[in-house]
């Protein structure tokens, strides 16, 4: 049978046979889920659209509100946990709905293919509040493709120029990695430092951007 919780007696033979007789083909359910996503969008009920994309740094979960992309997550974060976080912090109206994320997915694909150097999709900053948000806004505009900045240099651009540690935390908890390039922030000694997607992903991105 399927992943449903039954409240009737498990030894109900009619239930077992009926469940088998009304077996649901995966295609039918997929079609209905796509329809639900479309109708939810039309009815202003799609608070958080999600989809996954493949990339050289592994599968990515993308999430967008009506305002813009609100979250990019690496598979190492656990997509289930990220969905729960979105439900708690944004809205529980979370549905797989790829269309809203088409532009972000395409631009990420171009970025990894070396055909794009900056992103042009609307961002929803609500998961980066306070000082962290300030840090990430600087990061989004001040450190261009191919360049790097130290945590200290980034801190110096903010309202708390000595908050190097807090800058490290802001980068490590960036809700919009890749789109907001926290991979370009490195330690003063030149070593890579922490990254939400893991050290290998950070190295890969820096290598990608160092190609001419």
């Amino acid at each position: 049978m399927t992943n449903t919780t039954r409240t009737s007696a498990p030894d109900d033979p009619a239930a077992a046979l009926l469940t088998e007789a009304y077996a649901v083909a995966p295609d039918d359910l997929d079609r209905l889920r796509r329809r639900l996503a479309r109708e939810a969008e039309r009815g202003d009920l799609l608070d958080v659209a999600i989809r996954t994309v493949d990339s050289p740094v592994g599968a990515l979960l993308l999430a967008a509100t009506e305002a813009g992309v609100v979250r990019v997550a690496f598979s190492g974060e656990g997509f289930d946990a990220v969905q729960s976080e979105l439900a708690e912090r944004v809205s529980p109206r979370v549905l797989v709905a790829p269309r809203r994320l088409d532009a972000a997915a395409r631009q990420l694909d171009d970025y990894f293919g070396g055909r794009r150097r900056h992103f042009e999709v609307p961002l929803d900053w609500r998961l980066a509040t306070g000082y962290r948000g300030e840090v990430l806004h600087h990061l989004a505009t001040d450190v261009p493709y191919g360049g790097t900045a130290s945590y200290a240099a980034l801190a110096a651009r903010t309202s708390s120029p000595r908050a190097v540690r807090a800058v490290g935390t802001a980068c490590a908890t960036n809700p919009l990695p890749l789109l907001v390039p926290c991979h370009r922030v490195v330690r003063s000694d030149g070593s890579a430092g922490r990254y939400r997607g893991g050290p290998d992903a950070k190295a890969l991105l820096l290598a990608l951007e160092s190609r001419v």
Partner: protein, 184 residues
Amino acid sequence: MSTAAARGPDRACEPFERVVDAHGATVLRVVRAVLGPGTDADDAWSETFLAALRAWPDLPAGANVEAWLVTIAHRKAVDVTRGRVRRAVPVADLPEPSGGPGRPSGWPGAVGDVVGSVAHVHTLDLVAAVAALPRRQREAVAYHHLAGLPHAEVAVLLGSTPAAVRRAAADGVAALRRTTSLER
């Protein structure tokens, strides 16, 4: 958009996607049993999950989600049936329904819909036999045996009594046994 701040800690906070994952198939089986497999069942499923999505942020934590969904599905199935009666225009004027030419989809003729996915004579027997049950028996069978709701909850849903629901479900299953291979 409802925000985390606007919701109390006693509200459901699961991502709705997980609800569709866990209960989508069960709700589809239930509306197919009540309405017949076809476009009516599809419409009822879509309306059910759209309404559930709308209400989801306000559902109290700890609620029985599947029972809640089946309650909505029952109302939507009733709506779909009413809509079908209202749209009772000559069948020839309608675009061909997926259930087959010349018949409203969702009724016994629509059984053909499942041939592709479950080419199984006994299954077709059973689906056709469910479709041939009187509505109350079909609902009692669908909500009790397929959705797993206790008789008392089905009674609330149908505006009936637990005893009447028990009888309708038993009569329905007995009729299915007579006409199909339900008993194996």
